[in-house]
Symmetry: C2
Subunit: 349 residues, 2 copies
DNA sequence: CTGAAAGCGCTTACAG
DNA sequence: CTGAAAGCGCTTACAG
């Protein structure tokens, strides 16, 4: 016999000889349905391949079920954020939520409901809330507050004014502790002249330098920081730092770079000068991005728990949306990944 | 005065002294509204910050406005697919569409409406169509056809049976031509003994090898293929290929790897044996993924137009959804990216 | 356990 | 150019 095709709950209800309310109840696993009717309806749905209209469900029950992953001010999706997104998606899949991906470029002074703001965040109820990734400024966050759109931030990536906002709805990792452990690791290897290379005008790199400084100061070791500002290409920053470092701190035996890309630049110029890593100089990155996968020597680095950050952000946002009070979560720990770019300091050196 | 907060079109209509139909018309830029009313309504909307309910709009007009980017059988989002996704998002943003990102793991023999299939693709009308990325099999594609869900595939990534399906709804790049050009480039540099390293059991790598073969045969040059099967880690495949290659084709002066990761493995083991790239051996990758960014020597490779692929896929899907007849698009061209890993063959060698 | 009916907040012919 | 009314396809008190 020809298979009936049901387009709406009404079709199913008619065939089952019950009301649409009952169909809706079995669709939503509502307990108040007799086992008998439930089975009959379920069978009908099965064989007809009936699929309820998702939009209608959302309008009726008032829940959109979707979280928006908003990547701000990035022209490409770096591997770092890909991993965060993957964590978000894993959580959402498990929770039967959907993740809407979008990007947005704006400046700190743009007036906020702007034309370029993605449509779904401007629209009312298109999304339950937004996961704020990339680089963000207070104007956008204020807008979210104004229109009462719940959001959760990736706390480590906030610029200036955004830092002062309440942090209940932020997920972050312990940037400072990661740098501290990195410096301590180099100390354990026997290094006493450890330099930090970075751009201290950026809050996140500043925190890393602070962790480094804490580790050094608590051991009475000298601080050696090469602070290069205004260079947005980290690899280039790393390259430029090498001559400065060698001149200003020639006694250095180990370098802690502000991030992996910076480390790549440092490595490149070190090698050009015939300084071998790790034989002559130990080198450490930060982040553990996939771009360093095939670097030789394999880079020892501080791994940031990217997928976990995404998962926790989605979880926090879902909680807020569900009305649970947002509570500040403790920062996520980083993990030291020991590969080949750091060596024990030999007495000869 | 206290700012009125309008929650629905009715609130706005009441304040403007018109009907909701009129509000809807100005919201949708319908021409049949007098300039006067339009302005008044617009002003009201402006100052009240009224935002129409997106879900209700979709239910009423029957369009969901969202495309689903489905990444199949990948445990992480590789940089390759990040770029494709970015292209999709760029197109969708411009078209005021939203992209729903999801992942899905399945096998070629799984029965298709499975529990693990993401909810939004199971639901009716949650999405307008799906962009199929990652590795996919016929069973999923058949399911889409069955439930009449429009889809567009990334054509280069289809396995076995999926290859035989009609390709009107596929976007692909010219894999074979890219490999041909790569081999020709090595030829121009004076190389006559060029080897291909890869896994010919995979259709995509097979196509690359075919391009290589065409270039070689048309010049009467010998084919030298190292075909290693069953190794899913390409870098490892590359590593393993080196001793085989040196034994079987010791005359080789240039290697065309099936992809960048394979090239990384080749490079690693070449260097271990003291064979310098490019001085002693030229080496070429394929894809131009971000993981090779910091490789030294910088890898000469064939760039796949990832973002363009994403853009074209989204464009094609939007066209199909809009009822335009799907027409097969010509394959997108690749681009040779010349960096430092290939050198002119000197007579001495 | 079940059904009739109102409601979610828009859009869209249809009339005027 | 504008409005009244039906409709999009569900869900959810409310009654029974």
């Amino acid at each position: 016999m020809a298979q009936k095709v049901f387009k709406t709950v009404h079709d199913v209800a008619r065939a089952a000889g019950v009301s649409v309310a009952t169909i809706s109840r079995v669709l939503n696993q509502h307990p108040n349905v007799s086992a008998k009717t439930r089975e009959r309806v379920l069978a009908l749905i099965q064989q007809s391949g009936f699929r309820p209209n998702a939009i209608a469900r959302r309008l009726a029950n008032g829940r959109t079920g979707s979280l928006c992953f908003l990547l701000s001010n990035r022209d490409i999706i770096h591997s770092f954020h890909s991993r965060v997104l993957k964590g978000v998606e894993d959580y959402c899949q498990q929770q039967h939520r959907q993740v809407i991906f979008t990007t947005f470029d704006y400046g700190p002074d743009d007036a906020m409901p702007t034309e370029t703001l993605p449509r779904m965040v401007r629209e009312y109820r298109a999304i339950d809330g937004v996961l704020v990734a990339g680089t963000n400024y207070p104007n956008l966050l204020h807008y979210f507050t104004e229109v009462e759109l719940p959001y959760v931030m990736f706390g480590n990536n906030l610029v200036t004014g955004a830092l002062a906002l309440p942090r209940k709805n932020a997920v972050c990792f312990d940037e400072q502790a990661g740098a501290r452990e990195a410096a301590e690791f180099l100390f354990e290897l026997g290094h006493r002249h450890i330099a930090f290379v970075g751009d201290l005008s950026q809050p996140w790199y500043m925190r890393r330098q602070q962790g480094y400084r804490e580790a050094m100061e608590s051991r009475g070791l000298p601080i050696a920081t090469i602070d290069i500002r205004g260079e947005t290409d980290c690899a280039e920053l790393g390259r430029r730092s090498v001559p400065l470092l060698l001149r200003q701190h020639p006694e250095t035996t180990a370098i802690l770079a502000q991030d992996d890309e910076t480390a790549c630049g440092v490595l490149e110029n070190l090698e050009k000068l015939g300084i071998r890593v790790p034989a002559d100089m130990s080198l450490m990155g930060y982040d553990d991005i996939s771009e360093i996968r095939y670097l030789r020597p394999a880079l020892t680095t501080v791994r940031v728990p990217k997928a976990t950050i995404g998962w926790k952000m989605a979880e926090a946002l879902a909680g807020i949306v569900a009305g649970k009070p947002a509570k500040p979560a403790p920062p996520l720990p980083t993990e030291l990944v020991i590969r080949d770019s750091c060596a024990r300091l030999t007495p000869a050196a």
